[in-house]
């Protein structure tokens, strides 16, 4: 949905919707929802989060000076904390004196002041940015969405431009930055950029293949403020992993990399992209992560983009994905390890298979227990592409998701982030009513929304149903039966973002060729 020049609301979905298969879900309610919907409170939030001359808002200054200079404010906050039964030291450590959390809250408050409380919540800037730091990688993985090579591209951002990008993120209150690739550890600009981002108060994480994660590298990463390292291992069988990753010995080095990261005292996660050949070993994989000392198990949804288009036949069927989500929900509920997934169905899965007071995944905000978290996940859960998350390509292109690199909405060299963020494609992605197939009528759309990258990769239409979901089996069957040239059902270009640039909603540049 977007609002055109005559202020009309325009829905853009073109795939026909199907009869609803889900029963209406009673949505839990929280008093805070009434409070945040109040126009006076919205005005107050807007005032508290308006950036001052030094780039900081009142809310940030309040948190900074809590338990320091602002005695009266400290006394009032303490009074509130005591009444709410919250521990002062915990709140001080986890909230008031933790810059990323303060920035996340400030950004959320600014977004509510600007858009109001919407389901799902729209944001005035991304909460989470994944930066594909370089195109260069020391491996040649079969499923690489980035189509990485052994050399960086000629048009990649220079160090000066990278620093400018970090400043842009910090000025827009972006709290979380994940550096991916390619392989970020092969690039010499990585550490200066990390140091700068840390100085600007951004929470840093790195996704790596782990082969270059030596003890001294891990120690250096900790020193420059990296809080979380995610290492990819795709199989328990070293030979299978090495074949998938295109290098002998990659498995052993990746496992050693995880051990080095854990030993350095950095929160470490194991990331796996399951295929039809490996999905049956999900329980063993999670146990392997626990045994290695990982705190998080991260499931990466296979999307047939980049080199992944050549191995599309290993993509999970909706049925296999449903069972995978079930197992992952089980492990999340067990609590031995944190579980996250890039499949938006995981949000739905936590609701459908969990108890009302159980653990829920809230997408980019981690997990939590009980009704409060469930209410939260209704606002920020599911697919965040172009809504609370975006991706930066090595050349500075901004795209809604790492899996949607063809969907450029702007370049950081040409325009500031705030201007790029406000484009028509992101407006469409933020509206979960604007969907075809079952995604448009599903009762779980606020917790899930369907994977937009998967819809785009298979149908060429970013608003189509997610063919990876059990409720969209008709679409999966249609795709499986279709001829390759018929797959790009809605290959179209929608011209003109609100800022005058092109928001291209087209199929990938290269057509998908199934085996």
């Amino acid at each position: 949905m977007y609002v055109d020049s005559s202020r009309r609301t325009v829905k853009t979905f073109q795939r026909p919707r199907v009869p609803k298969q889900t029963a209406s879900l009673p949505n839990p309610h929280h008093l805070l929802e009434d409070l945040l919907s109040n126009p006076i409170i919205r005005k107050l939030l807007g005032w508290m989060t308006k950036a001052g001359p030094d780039g900081k808002c009142f809310f940030e200054r309040l948190c900074e000076n809590y338990d320091r200079d602002w005695r009266l404010a400290t006394w009032l906050i303490d009074l509130g904390l005591r009444r709410a039964g919250l521990d002062k030291e915990t709140m001080k450590f986890k909230l008031f004196h933790h810059p990323p959390t303060v920035r996340a809250l400030a950004l959320t408050a600014r977004s509510i002041a600007h858009y109001g409380l919407t389901t799902p919540q729209r944001f005035v800037a991304p909460l989470f940015v994944v930066w594909n730091f370089t195109q260069a990688c020391n491996l040649s993985c079969e499923h690489c969405y980035q189509n990485s090579r052994h050399k960086p591209d000629a048009d990649e951002l220079t160090l000066k431009e990278k620093i400018y990008l970090v400043d842009q993120l910090a000025d827009n209150f972006v709290p979380f930055l994940a550096i991916a690739g390619g392989e970020p550890l092969v690039h010499r600009d990585l550490f200066p950029v990390l140091e700068h981002a840390h100085r600007r108060g951004i929470h840093l994480t790195i996704a790596t293949n782990g082969t270059l994660l030596k003890p001294e590298t891990a120690a250096r990463l900790k020193e420059v403020g990296v809080k979380y390292i995610e290492v990819s291992i795709d199989s328990l069988d070293p030979a299978e992993h090495d074949a998938f990753r295109g290098q002998k010995g990659a498995w052993a080095r990746a496992v050693q990399g995880i051990k080095n990261s854990v030993a350095a005292g950095i929160r470490t996660g194991l990331a796996t992209c399951f295929t039809r050949h490996t999905v049956h070993r999900v329980d063993e994989m999670v146990q392997f992560a626990i045994d290695l000392g990982c705190k998080t198990f991260s499931h990466f949804n296979f999307i047939p983009v980049g080199r992944g288009r050549d191995i599309v036949d290993v993509d999970l069927t909706p049925s296999q994905r449903e069972l995978l989500m079930r197992r992952l929900t089980h492990h999340l509920q067990q609590g031995y390890i944190n579980v996250i997934s890039t499949a938006p169905q995981f949000g739905r899965s936590c609701v459908i298979y969990g108890w009302q007071d159980g653990v829920f995944a809230t997408g980019h905000a981690g997990r939590g227990e009980g009704r409060k978290t469930m209410v939260l996940s209704r606002y920020i859960g599911g697919c965040g592409a172009g809504r609370c998350y975006c991706s930066v390509q090595p050349n500075g292109n901004i795209t809604p998701c790492v899996y949607m690199s063809s969907q450029k909405v702007g370049n950081i060299r040409e325009a500031p982030l705030a201007e790029i963020w406000n484009n028509r494609l992101f407006h469409v992605l933020s509206d979960r009513e604007d969907r075809g197939d079952h995604c448009g009528v599903c009762d779980y759309r606020n917790y899930c929304g369907g994977c937009r990258a998967r819809a785009l990769a298979y149908t060429g239409d970013v608003t189509a149903g997610d063919p990876g979901c059990s409720f969209n089996y008709h679409l999966w069957n249609e795709i499986s039966a279709a001829a390759p040239e018929a797959l790009l059902i809605l290959n179209q270009t929608v011209a003109g973002g609100d800022n005058g640039r092109e928001a291209v909603m087209a199929a990938p540049e290269r057509q998908w060729e199934p085996r």
Binding site: Q21, P26, P28, W355, Y473, N477
Partner: protein, 130 residues
């Protein structure tokens, strides 16, 4: 005792009894309100768990049918699907009992009850199992 005192005493008695009854009524109302609140919460929790269980059954039934298109005796699956539709109706009633009550009252009475009288799935012995 003079009549005026009797009247005063009687008035006092009436006032005390009225006050006592009022307090008692208030306590009952409070207790009833709490009951209603508890029932509402419980109903919401029941609806939540049932809806999700129902949707999980539907998702897996759908998957099962797709994975096994040539299932033996699909009538059983049809009966499960029919059962999920009935549970969905129950949940609709739980979500908005007022509408259900109004519709139910407005509907004309029939001589014979509406509903299926035959099993969709054959009984044992009715048909040979492959």
């Amino acid at each position: 005792m003079p009549a005026a005192e009797w009247i005063a005493l009687a008035s006092l008695l009436v006032a005390v009894v009225s006050f006592w009854r009022w307090q008692r009524w208030k306590a009952r109302a409070r207790s009833r309100q709490q009951d209603v609140e508890v029932w509402r919460e419980a109903l919401r929790a029941v609806a939540f768990e049932s809806t999700n269980a129902l949707n999980a059954i539907r998702a897996h039934l759908n998957d099962f049918r797709q994975v096994n298109p040539e299932v033996n005796m699909p009538e059983h699956l049809n009966e499960i699907a029919e059962g999920t539709r009935r549970i969905a109706r129950v949940l609709e009633i739980a979500e908005d009992p007022h509408t259900w009550y109004r519709e139910n009252r407005a509907r004309p009475k029939r001589a014979t009850p509406v509903g299926t009288t035959e099993f969709a799935a054959p009984m044992v012995g009715e048909r040979e199992v492959n």
